[in-house]
Subunit: 198 residues, 2 copies
Amino acid sequence: MNFEHLQQQIAFIHEIDKVKYIQRKTRLFNSDRNENDAEHSWHLAVMAIVLAQHANQPVNTLKVLKMLLIHDVVEIDAGDVFLYDTTVSHTNTEAERKAAERIFGLLPPEQAQELIAIWEEFEAGETPEAQFARAMDRLEPLLQNVSNNGGTWREYQISYDRVVQKKGIISEGSQTLWDFAKTLIDDSVEKGILKKEG
Amino acid sequence: MNFEHLQQQIAFIHEIDKVKYIQRKTRLFNSDRNENDAEHSWHLAVMAIVLAQHANQPVNTLKVLKMLLIHDVVEIDAGDVFLYDTTVSHTNTEAERKAAERIFGLLPPEQAQELIAIWEEFEAGETPEAQFARAMDRLEPLLQNVSNNGGTWREYQISYDRVVQKKGIISEGSQTLWDFAKTLIDDSVEKGILKKEG
């Protein structure tokens, strides 16, 4: 039997193990340990399954899951960028595009093209699936910070206004989730774990 | 706005963070660090996306992904059981059923029932989706052990016969993947990282 096709797929599966080493700034819900990109991607995917009913428009859940499961693979080469970092561009940088070509390029060509297209759709954030997937990506660290006594908001002195500005994108995927997120953000100010002034 | 439904979903999302603390026996592909259940579940889900074309029968990939993403949630209460452990039952124990009821039971009732049913379908291993999902669950640690100079096979002195016996279930989900897995197992014997006698 000719396993050439399969060998390419296994090479990809092997390579993406490195996603487990990429540390995020955000910490786990009840821990001082930083979350890694594999754990993060898993959590977003389960969130999407559970919360899909709140999307503004009906979404193809399979496509949302594919987006969330692979969205951080490019960070193997390009690294993680903190949401509140003001010195680095956040969207679809040249480094990320090159990473996508190299890493998804390990797969058979047709499959590589499919996953690059899904990653680009996620990055562009224009379809209902991409908007809902991006809402998950913004909601999870917000839940973690709320659970973690302020988490990265306190650690990096992020102000209420910047949180609202960065998290407002949740409304593009789900107005319901954004309405809920705002109550959490407002509660956080009351509790003193998020400051009105940075 | 009434967020009661959503509050239940958030409680579930919060609870399953604990999956990130559950250590497996198996180590990462290129590391001495043990893999945790969240990383494992993420990797299986991406594998399913990439390898679904090799399933014996066409599978509903969305259902396969749901199975893989939630299959280890019960281990929050019931703990991880090593595949080659001979002292503990592996399938659908009473502890696991109780865990499923408690943890999925945090969700709104209809969603809880759906996810418990999906978990039970995975455990029963009788549908094409469950068989393919279970093939992923057996294939990943095999790939890790091959990549890791024998990994848990060497560490726990697992013999060739037991590996073939335990991994043969891959063929129920995908004969192609089992044919491939056998070549890896045979190569491992030749390389001396898996022993014919335990």
